[in-house]
């Protein structure tokens, strides 16, 4: 097989994208279910357990139910933008998944095919992720504006302000890792963490960067304790107050896909991606490690939601600009100095 033939390459990439898309959608469905069950466990309730074995089919039932709802468009809204906003949100969320390497180079023995388990590998993979997420802000901002509803507008403004502010500390927290690896290519960054029986992870060199990233990522995905944009008690449902049916579903999906991609980035940059003991012998084990690490972060999200109260908006802004950004800059400074002194 000639991998460089553009036609064969395109077909393979399309197949890979389809598989990745379907698995992400399934993961979203089961994350929603897991969230409801784990939250119920934390709060001493039972949670949805009737549809299918232990409630396995609950997300699909919810999906059908939401699809059947009437698709309302407010009379005073800006119709075109109102339609466009959920599309932007979900498309940018999905676009980010293509650059993450989910396994090492594997070889199929009989056919003698050998390829790395990554859909698109390019020089600036990390910047691509940041760029796509920064465009995702429009989905929320435009949704809030076009609904022509004060709660939506407040939610949209809050959300955009929050995402812009925390994007800064998110980007700065990654620079330590970039300095150490000397590349923006996610596949190379993962490969560099393969020492020590697959435990040479960046988190051991960049603990501060990891914590900063984690906090900023939670804020970036608008989750508890940073879920100001959809604070029910004051804003009804925030930017998606006016959305129903499939459009609401798109926003809902976008939020969970964002959670997954953010977890993927944390895994890739700080927890060694697909690295772990035994991956050198059994490459497919790497995919398992990658999934397990993502699931850990998703559990963390749910755990936090069950545990923490919400910030106040001024506290949120103060925390982002006056605590996270200075620490992130200090982290870069220390990393650069240590690297210079050790001549690495």
């Amino acid at each position: 097989m000639d991998w460089n033939n553009p036609f064969i390459h395109s077909v393979l990439v399309i197949v890979a994208i389809t598989i990745a898309f379907l698995s992400i959608m399934l993961l979203v469905a089961f994350t929603v279910l897991a969230e409801r069950r784990v939250l119920a466990f934390i709060q001493g309730r039972v949670g949805p357990n009737r549809v299918g074995y232990g409630g396995v089919l609950q997300p699909f039932a919810d999906f059908i139910k939401t699809m059947m709802k009437e698709d309302l468009v407010p009379a005073q809204s800006t119709k075109f933008v109102f339609m466009l906003a959920p599309m932007i949100a979900v498309v940018t969320a999905i676009m980010a998944i293509v650059v993450y390497p989910f396994g090492p180079t594997i070889t199929i023995p009989i056919l003698n095919w050998s390829f790395p388990l990554v859909i698109a590998r390019f020089d600036v993979g990390l910047l691509y992720v940041l760029g796509v997420t920064s465009v995702g802000v429009y989905g929320i901002a435009l949704a809030g504006w076009s609904s022509n509803n004060k709660y939506s507008l407040m939610g949209g403004l809050r959300s955009s302000a929050q995402m812009i502010s925390y994007e800064l500390s998110l980007g700065l927290s990654l620079i330590g890792v970039i300095l150490m690896s000397g590349t923006l290519d996610l596949y190379s960054i993962v490969e560099q963490q393969s020492g020590w029986w697959g435990l040479n992870w960046n988190i051991f060199y960049q603990p501060v960067g990891f914590i900063l990233y984690l906090i900023s990522a939670i804020a970036e995905t608008n989750r508890v304790p940073f879920d100001l944009p959809e604070a029910e008690t004051e804003l009804v449902a925030g930017f998606h107050t006016e959305y129903s049916s499939i459009k609401f579903l798109l926003f809902f999906n976008a939020e969970y896909i964002n959670m997954i991609t953010v977890s993927m980035l944390a895994t890739t940059l700080f927890l060694g991606g697909w690295n772990g003991p035994g991956v050198a012998q059994f490459p497919l084990l790497g995919v398992g490690y990658f999934v397990v690490k993502i699931l850990f972060f998703l559990f963390l999200y749910i755990w936090l939601r069950g545990t923490l109260p919400r910030f106040r908006f001024d506290q949120l802004m103060d925390f982002g600009w006056k605590v996270l950004v200075p620490i992130a800059i200090l982290n870069i400074l220390v990393t650069a100095t240590v690297m210079f002194l050790t001549g690495k």
Partner: protein
């Protein structure tokens, strides 16, 4: 073949969005079209083997600057503008004239670039790669880079100081006498963080406490 097809798609998108940006009446639609232009340009940069420039284009222009523009449009709540064709009619011939000059200029530049033998046509350049941009910024172009940074910083500080409302009472302001309880840092910008309450019974006393000089009590 695929490359030229993609070029036509993205160039078409860029031109279409640019026309949309100029033609739209609603400023928000113009802003969205401009975002479309910037994204298509980023795709064209990727095709020109300059992935770093493309990523920066998306992050800085589409992701940061245009978000602020959209923010301003959303907050200002602009009305639908009325066309003022009569008063601005002279702009139409002016625009046509300027456009002609512009097109002629670009055609000339394209022609001279094509004709010049010094232009490398088939070499792979590394101009748009992360390493070359970084090395250029921190060695050859260090001074311009730093000066630009300082310039931007000055702009930010200037905007802050202009937009920040002054807390000082003007000499003509009237302070109502009575039991007013105000934190000190609210009335006097010099004592930031001082939340001691100020209680006054007369305007003159209030002015003295707040450090407002030359305040004349209108009650007299």
């Amino acid at each position: 073949m695929i490359t030229s097809l993609l070029f036509i798609v993205f160039a078409g998108m860029a031109i279409g969005c640019a026309l949309g940006m100029v033609a739209q009446r609603n400023p928000l639609y113009s802003a969205i079209s401009l975002i479309g232009v910037l994204l298509s340009l980023a795709c064209l940069y990727v095709m020109l083997a300059a992935p770093f420039i493309a990523a920066v284009q998306v992050i800085v222009y589409a992701g940061a600057i245009m978000v602020l523009v959209v923010f301003v449009i959303m907050l200002l709540n602009v009305e639908d503008e009325e066309p003022r064709r009569k008063r601005l009619a002279f702009l139409v011939p002016t625009a046509i004239g300027l456009a002609t000059i512009m097109i002629a200029e670009s055609a000339f530049i394209l022609y001279s670039v094509q004709a010049s033998p010094a232009t490398p046509r088939h070499g792979i350049s590394n101009v748009g790669l992360t390493a070359s941009v970084g090395a250029g910024l921190f060695t050859k172009y260090l001074l311009p880079f730093e000066i630009t940074s300082v310039l931007l910083l000055m702009a930010i500080v200037g905007a802050m100081s202009l937009a920040r409302r002054s807390n000082t009472l003007s000499p003509t302001a009237r302070v109502v006498p009575g039991a007013q309880v105000l934190p000190m840092d609210l009335v006097n910008p010099l004592s930031t963080g001082n939340t001691t309450a100020v209680e006054t019974n007369s305007t003159a006393e209030a002015a003295r406490l707040m450090g407002v000089e030359g305040h004349s009590d209108r009650e007299k």
